[in-house]
Amino acid sequence: MIPTRHRNPALRPSKGLLGLLLFSFCLLVSAVPAQDVESPVLDLSTFERIPVLYNGRKMPLDTYARQTLLQFSGRQNVEDLSASAWMAELLFEPEQASGYAVFLINHPEVAEAIEIQPRDDRRYSYTGLHQALPRLMEKARQADSIPEEQRSQVEKEILRVASNLLYYNGLLQSFSFARPHPDFQPRDPQAAERLQVEMDTDLSALDLALIIERIRPLVEAVAQKAPAEWSALEQDSFRLAGTLFEWVNRFQGAPFEMIPSHAHDREDWISPWMAMGAALGDPGVRGNLQQLQKLYQAYVDGDQQTFDEAAQAVRAFTEQRLPGDRELRVLNLEVSYNQLRLFFWSKFLYFLGFLLGFGTFISGRKTLGRLAWLFLLIALIPHTAGMIMRMVIMGRPPVTNLYATFVFVSWICVLLSLLLERAQRNGLGLMSAGFSGIALLMLSARFASESDTLGKVVAVLDSNFWLSTHVIAITTGYAGCMLAGVMGHIYLIQAIWRPADREGLRATQRALYGILGFGLIFSFLGTMLGGVWADQSWGRFWGWDPKENGALLIVLWTAILFHARMAGMIRDIGFAVGAVLGVIVVMFAWLGVNLLGVGLHSYGFTSGLARGLYIYTAAQIFLATALGVAAARRARRV
């Protein structure tokens, strides 16, 4: 027997719904962020593919630029520039880049404290902050002397902004080794002659470092003499060598590790300035630094061909130094992953799928249903492709961090919903597929700005076997319980709206029951597999650690609902209210325990979520109670 489709001509959404769809489409299209705008001067596609090491991970420069900009400004582009175009300006023409408002200062109190004019968009340029730098650093020193747990939000923000500015300062200097500077010009004709350069030649630190050997004997010899006895040649030689030495020392700490090297038989990466100080004797490194200088010069000259050649040579050097390196092999894939923005397109299509699914659910129109199926299936393509690309890039199962849990859980929710739709064919599954797809992907975006979503996993998590069993099982459990929560909402709304539609209510209740059962199985399996992993890794099956407890709470809550229903302590409405409240339990296990900051699992820590979670919990409890009471009243009247 196929469940009856609900037809209510008054609610048939023919023109109204289509109009709404069209409107939403236009709204979304207008909200689509503009394609990454390339550098106004050069095509940066080869530059973006230069390998860089950041937080222990080899990544394309494109990702590094995005990460850095995200860390500074909370966004992945600035004004009309893509992150890599901004990075190129920052490295090669720092004076121009310093005008971009990239420093996010969240608290207006911080702006007041360092005496700058607060801006509406809370973003400030380096130039704008320059005057206030001494005040900011002083405040940062004061904040730093306070124990971490006692720091106020403003103090934390001061430290964050100060640390970003220091990092930016380092970045400004990362390519200064390649920029000509008057300090490196010989001022004595004899010195110029010894160095075999013209007197008025613009030299960079690198240029000088490569020919400094020519005056080394002179410099070594003057050390034995009193300065008063030095000749003009000796003075200038000493000045040049001293300036170079000072610059190398001063900028050793500048970031941008892009040159692979080996130290104590271990792979290490160094910045150009570090290479200037420690690895100039290596012909390969020397050549690579020259290519980097060529890259700089070509950018300044706007010479696309030389720019591309230099970028390719830099990349080729890295690949030659680390032959067969897995992470280097997937760099291009990562650039594509960054630029395709697959999850954005999924969200867009899920939203359309949701609207159409909603229309199907309330009107029962086949055409809308077919369209919803189409949109949802198409939405699944970029969603799945994005997950597969992440897996290939990381060489890991789909879930390795908090961000990935949201992407994966939303994918499972969509699949489960579509399976449900296949079984029930009443639009319920279509609606929940679209809703869970968009809602969870939107939540995932919140975590994308926290850190590198493709980052390295710590040693204790370094087990693909357990990541692909325990983690997948527990997140699938989350998905089941979350989706059951969505069903619970739908059931309660149905029970208020159409209490007489017994068949419709029964169909939703059956779906709710099945999906919550599915959630229970996987939550239990995930929890117990977690115990097995803990036994393998820490020597005990169960330790009452917060994350373990969180998972157990889901199992217990779900088990309570099933047993209470069997014991007659709750009925359909109670069960639905329970499923809705179950979402709070899932959220506590998923995010809440990380906020506690204790236990062996606190590596998933994230900040600033607590308030959101409290508000959500209070709102959800209120909503569940209100819906439950209203549904029970309506049921009594029927």
């Binding site: 027997m1 599915f518 917060p546």
Partner: protein, 379 residues
Amino acid sequence: MNSLLKKFVGLLLSLKTTVVCLFLLLLLVFFGTLYQVEFGLHAAQQRFFYSWGLLLGGWIPMPGGNTVMWILFLNLLASMLVHFQFGPRHWGIVAIHFGILLLLVGGWFTYLFGEESFLLLSEGEASNVTSSYREWELSVWPDSEDGRLREVEAYDIGKLRVGDRLSFPAAGLELSVEQIFSNARAFRDPNAVTGAPPSNVHGITTLQSAPAEKEPESNMPGMIVRAGNEEDQASAVLLFGGDRQATRLTVGDTALNLQLRRKRYPLPLLMELLDFEKSFHPASRIPRAFSSKIRVYLKDLERDALIEMNKPFRYQAYTFFQASYVDTDPGAPEISRFAVTRNVGRLIPYVSTGVTAAGLMLHFILALQRPKSRKRKEA
């Protein structure tokens, strides 16, 4: 009486009891988790999960984890015996609940007989004892003849009180406890005369009681014991958990060593650390892996093994895990830290997990089939 018994049996068999127990367990787990933030894991375990009862928030009486889990166990066992049907259609349900019963048994077994300790070894060092995380012992030994083997007598100090007398027959020593603190701060009086009683190897002169640490592993106990009578000032010895070396005490002609140390557990083997390796992701402090190459000496044979993260070494009921390491100076032998557990019922949770998971799957599949068969009947 009969009706009371009936009521009791009815309650024991009731599904409502199950729901209430599960709900109480949920509350315990929730509040026990929050409690950890302020008071640490161990305190939460003792107060919420391993207790018979507690006062929530200081005034709401509530059964503890032990009580709830026992009732749940009995409720489940009784229900299985009386209510459960065992036909093929119910195999899923039976397996789920049997697995849960087994899980509770396994948990109880581990609680009673499980033993957790740790072992710190530097490269080239071997040991046949492990150290407790939380328990301490007062150990006494005479100087050994060959400098290697020594006969140690030890008392657990957990339950010692002021005035208790301790006897160490092999060493020929009687001690009385004058002061004892489960967590203490130690002070050295700068004006004290060197060598004045109470004696301590590091010159500590005073102990002061300190509040218990959030993590009990960090507690440092301290005590003052006396070998002679109260007038015999010279026989007083101050022992502190932080003492690196033993304090010497001469009784008659015998020189004895006294030390307060973490309780030792003997191992059925001797384990030597050959090499410890740690690696980080390039140019970062993000750990990539730790591993220890060990050699194990058993009665007649020796064997080499590698202990890595997620790859422990097992022998009988013992399991050795790579826990962490101690930072050492470059060039110095590296120090590896192993977590050691002894658990005879280690496999019970594995079996119960398998049984319950299989039961859940079976039940879910059977439940999915049901609407279809109903539909068929209707057709």
